[in-house]
Structures are given as structure tokens and as C-alpha cells.
Symmetry: C2
Subunit: 218 residues, 2 copies
């Protein structure tokens, strides 16, 4: 009975790992759409968000049924609760990728970001996507060291975020206010996306290792 | 036994209602700090966030113990899960109030917002705070009509958010880019705060009324 329960939990966690890869791909596509002005790619990310939402609903429903029918305790209870939380985090990462894609669509055929900021935004996107892929691996493997790496990655993301503000606050900013507003929001979307990737990894590890209070959502 | 369980759930929900009033007050203080350049008030909101986080941790822990020890099913299970989710939403509302206060601190003794935009930002703040207070009442009373009102309030918030963008995108924006960046972020903080207030009310009602999939987080 308990083996069956654990297999179900592992299956659900596996689905979350796949979902996390999906939202990594969504963020990659949204970024390309944004930097290269690719409208169809933006539309695809926007349309694709419904599938991520549906997947979250399904996984959460299965975790709730499992709680209701099998009444897990201890680690199994924590794992089932983590599945519900993590599914929410990943769904939110999908929303943030969609926001980036919508920013691309709004300014099409131009890029919402002035070309000299592209390298900085690419670094934010690369960091965010790498973090999502690591979080996916943490879900698959429960690798504590990999989860710890995400904290360092998040520091890097915060540093990049500060660099964006430095560019914006420079009095010689030569662009329209519109571009400043777009860049402010885009940088925030990547930064929040990274926060959720950290949360996915922390919750996953906490559920298995346990002890102490629930990790603070970020 | 089931009566005791329900009493505990009602107690936890009551604590969430109080927490929600606290984050409404935090947002009110943060807004005053922001518009009137009141540094000490900003500091108080920033320091106060730790208490909100601690309260969330406590409530979540109690809900998890309740799941582990009493293994509720059906409505009681949904209510216990909603407590955990709603505590996270409220904690996030506290973070957003803290972000507004930090924006005030960063620009002190100036206001981060040009004075002609103050009325618009005040309307956003008033709407956000009113929504938090309604969400608190929904937690206390389970009032479905009040919960439904929040959807209309959220439309109003989205409209105000669009007005902020219209002001920013106006080519005659006479201020520094810094002010545009601050205003962009502040508007987003109020809008996200409102989204979480809607989520609090929806999850609360869904837990009691049930049926259908979990309400989409916003």
C-alpha cells in the first residue's frame, strides 16, 4: 500500500519535472520572440499557457485525491503537499513566460528592448532558463547539491537585475519612456521566474528531507 | 471529533482574517510613506513583514499537523489545504506592501511618484486595501456575494493599471526615467496585491462550496 503511494508520488513529481522543462522552453521561446521580434513564436507561447494551466490542475487534483483516499503521514504527506505547491510555482513560471511573450507581441515588429540592452536581457533569460532546468533535475533526482546551486544562481540573477536598473537610472538613457517601462517589467518577470525556480527546488528537497518549518516562499 | 476539527479550522481561518487586516494596514502605511515621504512609517512596514511571515509559518504548520493527525476528508480536507494556500497569498501581499515601503525609502526625502500622479496611485491603493478588507471579511463570514464583488473590484484595478500605463506612455512625460521605473513597479505591486486578495476570497469560498477544479491562482 505504502509502496503504491510512493510510486504515485514519484509519478506526480515526474510530471512536475516535465512541466518545468516545458516552462523553460516557453521562456526560451518568449525571449527569442522578444529579442528577434518573432510574432508567431510569441503567439505560440501565449496559446501554450493553457496546456500548462491544465497540467497544473490535473496534478493538483491527483495530489488532493491521494490525500483524501490514502491519508498519507510524515514524509508522504509532505511530498503530497509539496506537489500541490510546486505545481503552483511552475504554473506561475508559465504565466511569466507568457508575460514576456505578450510584451513581444505588444511592440511587434519592433523589439520592446533597445538593442544595446539585448546582451544583458539574454543573460537574464539564460540564467532563468538554466535555473528552471536545474529545478526540473532536482524534481527528477532529489539532488540536494543541485538544489543548493540554485541559491547561487539566484544571487547572479539579482546582480543582473541591479545591472538593468543601473542602465535605466543612467541619466543618458537615450530611449523613449516606453522602452524603460518595458525593460523594467521584463527584468522583473525574469527575476520572479527565477524566484519560483528556487522555490520549486527548496520545496522538493524540504518535502523529502523534512525538519524545520516550511521553506519561505520567495 | 469532527466538531473539534471544524473548530480548529475555523480558528485558523480566523487567524487568516486577522493577518489579512494586518497586510491591509501595511499597504495603507506603505502608501502613506510613499506619497508623503514618511521614512519612519516606511521602516515600520519593512520591519513588520517578519511578523507576517512568522504568522504564515505558524498557521501553515498547524494546518499540516491537522492533516497529519486528524486526516480530514471532503470539505474539511479542502478547508485545511485552503488555509495553507491562503496563508501564502497573504504573506505575499505583505511582501508587496514591503516593496512599496522600500520604494519610499529608496527615494526619501522625495516621493518616488511625481505629485500629479498621486491621485491615481491613491486610487490604486484605496482599491487594493478595500479588496484586502473584503477578503478578510470573506474569511470571517464565508460570504459568497462579497467574494463575487472582488472580481468587479479587480476589473477596476486593471483599469487603473491601464491608466498608469497611459500616463507613462504619453510622449509628454516630463520626468526622469527613474520616476517612470518607480511608477511602473509600484503600479504592478498594487495590481499583484489585488490579484492575491481575489485568490484569498476564491480559495476560501471554493474550500467550503467545493465542486469543480481548484480555482486558478491569478
Amino acid at each position: 500500500m505504502r509502496d503504491a503511494l510512493q510510486m504515485q508520488l514519484t509519478q506526480l513529481t515526474g510530471r512536475l519535472a516535465v512541466m518545468t522543462r516545458d516552462v523553460a522552453q516557453a521562456m526560451r521561446d518568449a525571449t527569442t520572440a522578444c529579442l528577434d521580434g518573432r510574432m508567431r513564436l510569441a503567439e505560440r507561447v501565449i496559446a501554450g499557457d493553457a496546456a500548462i494551466d491544465a497540467c497544473r490542475d490535473e496534478v493538483a487534483e491527483q495530489a488532493v485525491s491521494l490525500l483524501a483516499l490514502q491519508q498519507p503521514v510524515a514524509t508522504d504527506l509532505r511530498r503530497a503537499l509539496a506537489v500541490i505547491h510546486v505545481a503552483d510555482d511552475i504554473e506561475r513560471m508559465g504565466d511569466l513566460a507568457e508575460h514576456v511573450a505578450k510584451s513581444a507581441r505588444r511592440r511587434h515588429p519592433a523589439s520592446p528592448v533597445p538593442s544595446e540592452v539585448h546582451p544583458l536581457l539574454e543573460r537574464m533569460a539564460d540564467t532563468a532558463i538554466a535555473m528552471a532546468l536545474k529545478a526540473s533535475d532536482v524534481l527528477r533526482t532529489g539532488n540536494v547539491l543541485l538544489a543548493a546551486e540554485l541559491d547561487g544562481d539566484d544571487d547572479e540573477m539579482d546582480q543582473l537585475h541591479r545591472e538593468v536598473f543601473a542602465v535605466l537610472m543612467d541619466r543618458s538613457w537615450p530611449h523613449e519612456v516606453t522602452a524603460a517601462v518595458d525593460l523594467t517589467l521584463l527584468a522583473r518577470f525574469y527575476e520572479r521566474y527565477a524566484d519560483h525556480a528556487v522555490a520549486v527546488a527548496r520545496r522538493t528537497i524540504h518535502a523529502v528531507v523534512g525538519g524545520g518549518p516550511d521553506p519561505l516562499p520567495i
